[in-house]
């Protein structure tokens, strides 16, 4: 299915590319350029979807590598410097496709915020794994938010966030919540932004268990 979608999108990319180099009215050329960009973005999204839904990539290492590559490819061409703080060796631990997809999309959102809204020149991406908990931190040196206390309480859902960040942040929280995880946000005007995404590797409990606390640690059997 995605093959024919991709092939058609590719046609649009190439046709728009050729068209925008033909002589024509400036306004039309601008619109054609938009078409080229949008269709390329669509191919990207489809590519990400193909990666996200392929169970072969269901390991923590594959997620870490993909995030690292994604961040470099997104930020470096835009002139931002990217630093990584990843463990030297990740254990060959498996991760559910659902959680992997949500963590990728949430990190993507945070990185794009740093790129598009924060006016940052530098981004740090950290990846850590401890006690069956994944934590991903995106830090940027951009403009930060005003009206936002730089403490962990900033993860409170009712705190105000600046325009442009609102929707993205809501998306982040929903993504992480569905995976049983949390988003922590710390920022101050001119001091950059730090977004921490953490989630347990063992996903949320099945729907039949909704009465139980989501964040309750798994019951341990006593010998």
């Amino acid at each position: 299915m995605h093959d024919s979608l991709g092939a058609d999108l590719t046609r649009i990319v190439i046709l728009a590319e050729v068209a925008r180099h033909q002589p024509g009215r400036a306004g039309v050329l601008q619109q054609i350029e938009r078409i080229a960009t949008i269709s390329r973005d669509l191919v990207d999204s489809l590519n990400e979807l193909v990666w996200a839904t392929n169970p072969r990539h269901n390991t923590v290492g594959a997620l870490a590598a993909y995030l690292r590559e994604y961040a470099s490819e997104l930020l470096e061409p835009a002139g931002l410097s990217v630093h990584f703080d990843f463990p030297r060796q990740l254990p060959a631990q498996s991760i559910s496709g659902e959680l992997r997809r949500n963590l990728f999309l949430a990190t993507k959102e945070a990185l794009n915020n740093a790129l598009k809204h924060a006016r940052a020149t530098e981004v740090r991406l950290a990846f850590a794994l401890f006690d069956h908990q994944v934590e991903i931190v995106v830090w940027d040196n951009g403009c930060g938010f005003h009206s936002q206390p730089p403490d962990p309480a900033a993860s409170h859902p009712n705190l105000p966030v600046p325009a442009g960040y609102g929707n993205g942040l809501r998306n982040l929280r929903e993504r992480l919540a569905s995976a049983g995880g949390v988003v922590q946000l710390a920022s101050a005007t001119g001091k950059g932004t730090r977004v921490s995404l953490s989630a347990p590797l063992v996903g949320p409990l099945p729907a039949s268990d909704t009465n139980r606390q989501l964040r309750e640690p798994p019951a341990r059997q006593t010998p």
Binding site: H2, D3, G6, A7, L9, T10, R11, V13, I14, L15, E17, V18, H21, A36, S39, R40, V43, D44, L46, N47, V50, W51, R56, H57, G61, A62, A64, A65, Y66, L67, R68, E69, S72, E76, F86
Partner: protein
């Protein structure tokens, strides 16, 4: 002045073919020498035009781009073949690499990126993403004979048995690629130039192909 890079395009989609032909015609330093709508047409025409770089679609009516690669490489031995693909499907890309491609190009790549990739390929570079590196590592795990601790195995692949082995340096580079490191970071980390990183990656591709050819020979011998 250096000679233009002579490119051939093999794709059954006329719009893609015409678009790419147009791109190479209008870019200084490149020349589009052929454009074919099928693998069969390519096998017939390209030995005459002997392009430097062939961009090859995978799914085409008749023979697939991957299946025609060994034949194409035999008939155009100096050509570098790059698979043209919509998605970075690591299975398909890997199969093309084993069959003789030294690169792969995603069709949505903007024109400037396509030109850079073709120039890179012609200059001896090969792309390798973390997905492809992980796949290669997995294949190697299943065939530990390919891993060597000897430094002598570094460098270009030797044809025929004994089967090609990855030297420790290549293994190091592969590990870093599999973790999502960029060429620049690998070069910094290992204290080598980006050019050297690229040379090692190209040699890994060549070893992979030598190995698969050797295996094919062995299979044929066992059957006989």
């Amino acid at each position: 002045m250096t000679l233009p890079i002579r490119v051939a395009i093999v794709d059954d989609d006329r719009e893609v073919r015409d678009g790419l032909t147009w791109l190479f015609r209008h870019s200084p330093g490149f020349k589009c020498v052929d454009s074919c709508a099928s693998a069969e047409e390519a096998l017939d025409k390209l030995p005459r035009s002997q392009p430097d770089v062939v961009l090859l679609d995978i799914q085409m009516p008749g023979q697939s781009g991957i299946d025609c690669l060994p034949d194409l490489k035999r008939r155009c031995p100096t050509a570098q073949a790059s698979i043209l693909t919509v998605f970075e499907d690591d299975d398909l890309v890997f199969r093309s690499l084993v069959a003789g491609a030294t690169g792969y190009l995603l069709k949505k790549t903007p024109p400037a990126g396509i030109l850079v990739a073709v120039r890179d390929l012609h200059a001896g570079g090969s792309p390798m993403s973390s997905q492809i590196a992980r796949k290669l590592l997995n294949v190697l795990m299943d065939q530990p004979a390919l891993l060597s601790n000897s430094i002598e195995t570094c460098g270009p692949a030797r044809p025929g048995p004994p089967i090609a082995e990855l030297c420790p340096r290549e293994r190091q580079i592969l590990d870093l690629l599999a973790q999502g490191f960029r060429y620049k970071e690998i070069a910094e980390q290992l204290g080598i130039t980006i050019h050297t990183v690229r040379t090692f990656i190209r040699s890994m591709y060549e070893k992979l192909q030598v190995h698969s050819r050797t295996e094919a020979v062995l299979r044929v011998r066992r059957k006989a």
